[in-house]
Amino acid sequence: MNCNDCVEKLDQYVDRELNNTEVLELKRHLEGCPPCADQYEFQASLKRLVKVCCDKDTAPAAFREKLRQILL
């Protein structure tokens, strides 16, 4: 696997969408290629950041209760 192949698959790698063979190939490349490893770390950090920042909101308690009264 070269760097272009690696970069093309980084989205799928951070999203855990590669099969076992592809994961092994990509991991092997990352171990021997610091620039690609840095890029992977960056993309994984960005994905974590989006999740952490966007999953804080929860439904207000009053709204939850209102729904329960409507639905149950």
């Binding site: 989205d11 999203d15 960005l46 989006v50 999953d55 929860t58 439904a59 729904l67 639905l71 149950l72």
Partner: protein, 192 residues
């Protein structure tokens, strides 16, 4: 009104996914009141069409699909409106930061305010925003996201890729505006 035990059990299970639906609705509508209206309507519809849900399948995805379909029908008027998917061109924040001497690149992410990240997500066109919400925020697989959105997996992948490009561009602009990085290679990541 007395409800059947089966209907009550279905509603109880559906309500365990309330936070996911509310978060999604909030990010799509960008308005707490509209989000509540949207989620309430989605739940009423879900119970009305309870028979179309196949037990054992992904209820969260099924509910999210109802909610986002309502969003497009009710809030956007037409699926063809406000769906600008302008190609922003390849933009890789990592490359940009590396070229501009911001080392280590990932440190820049630590300095971004959560509110700016949320704003960057909310600025995405809705068709891009919803795939980020499903895959990045709620952890859906490409397959489940494709099923929820009613598109092929390849479309999920391409929308996700473009959404991330747009997201990185927005975050870069914010990082420059707030002095976290400086354009044209003159900057470094300030140490806290």
């Amino acid at each position: 009104m007395a409800e059947s035990p089966a209907r009550t059990a279905f509603a109880e299970e559906a309500l365990t996914h309330l936070d996911v639906l509310y978060r999604g609705a909030l990010r799509l509508t960008r308005d707490p009141d509209q989000a509540q209206d949207l989620v309430q309507e989605a739940y009423v519809r879900a119970l009305r069409y309870q028979h179309s849900y196949q037990p054992g399948t992904n209820m969260k995805a099924w509910l999210f699909a109802i909610m986002r379909n309502l969003f497009w029908d009710r809030f956007k008027g037409s699926r063809k409106e406000d769906v600008s998917l302008d190609d922003v061109g390849e933009f890789v924040l990592y490359d940009k930061l590396r070229d501009e001497g911001a080392k280590p690149e990932a440190d820049v992410l630590d300095k971004l305010a959560a509110s700016e990240v949320v704003e960057a997500v909310e600025k995405l066109p809705p068709l891009h925003r919803e795939v980020v919400l499903l895959v990045d925020v709620e952890g859906f697989s490409y397959k489940d996201a494709a099923q929820t959105l009613g598109v092929p997996i390849g479309t999920v992948m391409s929308r996700l890729h473009r959404a991330r490009q747009q997201l990185q561009r927005s975050l870069y602009e914010y990082a420059v505006e707030s002095g976290i990085v400086h354009r044209n290679g003159t900057g470094q990541v300030p140490q806290q």
